[in-house]
Chain length 244, copies 2
């Protein structure tokens, strides 16, 4: 007898069922990332479950980065969802010390270079225009505020990851990025962080626009190298000040 013809019955899987229904809703309404999904109260009423159950389900999605909740405003879709998503939550024993930061940078160096190369291979004219737009915004912010364009800088990089066609780049580097920034301004208050890396953003873009994967890879490596330099200088300064 085929054992697979008797799947275990699901007497309780309320929140899972809620998520499945939500996937169906998102697809039916063709919701795009950034759009708002129904109120918790409405979901609870429509699905005939308690609001608490809806909340547990949404908490799961929030933990997976699929959704973002803003009190007083609503719950917003943050990424595309599909019925057969595969979740691979990975928690690493990080550390807020210098070597841990260097480790994340080594990962980022590998991924950033590959993403830039893939991006140069696959970018459509529209993609290139979008990347240029982000680059302009970033350079503008950099000149206006004289450095500290971290937000726009990050958006530029994200655009590259997206055009690479592989969502894993963005997801993995986003985790690194968060750790990095959580640690950056607080312990090491390096004011001019990002100054050194600034010119390479444009060179990366130029290589992508020229469809030059190897060039893009090389420029990305240079960019990360400047960040590693900044980090080392910051750590040295920190060590010095702690000795006084």
């Amino acid at each position: 007898m085929d054992q697979n013809s008797l799947p275990p019955i699901q007497t309780t899987a309320r929140d899972d069922a809620v998520l499945k229904a939500l996937v169906g809703f998102v697809r039916a309404e063709a919701l795009q990332p950034g759009e708002r999904l129904p109120t918790e109260r409405i979901l609870a009423e429509r699905l005939k479950v308690s609001r608490n159950t809806v909340r547990e389900a949404l908490t799961r999605w929030e933990g997976l980065g699929l959704v973002e909740r803003r009190q007083g405003s609503g719950t917003y879709l943050k990424a595309a969802v599909s019925p057969d998503m595969l979740h691979m939550p990975l928690t690493l024993a990080g550390g807020n010390d210098f070597t841990s930061l260097m480790h994340t940078l080594e990962i980022r160096r590998a991924l950033e270079a590959e993403a830039a190369a893939l991006c140069a291979e696959r970018a459509s004219p529209a993609d290139i225009a979008e990347i240029k737009r982000k680059l302009d915004i970033m350079e503008q912010a950099f000149r206006t505020r004289d450095g500290m364009s971290s937000e726009e800088d990050w958006e530029f990089h994200q655009a590259i990851y997206r055009v690479s066609g592989n969502p894993l780049f963005e997801q993995i580097i986003a985790a690194m990025h968060e750790l990095f920034h959580r640690f950056w301004e607080h312990p090491l208050g390096v004011r001019d962080f990002g100054h050194a890396s600034f010119p390479y953003h444009r060179t990366i873009y130029e290589c992508i626009a020229a469809r030059d994967p190897q060039g893009a890879r090389a420029e990305a490596l240079k960019l990360i190298a400047t960040v590693e330099d900044d980090l080392k200088r910051g750590a040295a300064k920190l060590k010095l000040s702690s000795q006084t």
Copy 2:
């Protein structure tokens, strides 16, 4: 004015606080994975928060695979926790899809190459001997069983990640590896998987032993290229058979 001198204030973060307290508890009691942690009701009472809040916090941890809840039994620790963990939730749209596997391979290509290069830079003589040992075991298994040495193959690669000095390589690639194998043998029954990649294991080792980072990187890229080839061939075969 420096815009970063006014960070957003943090007024409420209940469930986050619960998790932080829980991390403290686990460390204070030196709880090991597998052990049970206090009841939701007890936690709620001790932390002076509602049981609902405790549940939301635990739901987060459950989603991250840090904890397992068994109704009627209790909540059990599933992995070590630390105050500064790095969460990296990866979600792939389209589970056993060809493109998903290709995406994991792109990540692996980037990381594998970087790890091999770092390994060649940093390996001590003892490290090199250890890698050679794994290589010999793998080659032996390959010849004896004529292919299908996936277990020993994996150990060889893990040795390289370890010698690279960056634990993130092993952890991230391990997650990919697990995903990859879960879908490999099942949908695409490619018997001779790994045959093509076999010779490159030795060439990688030789570059590492010769302290040649660029060579190691190049050989690692060749290895992944063969795996990508196998995957494409398997997918083509699958597509063909599904058309009959």
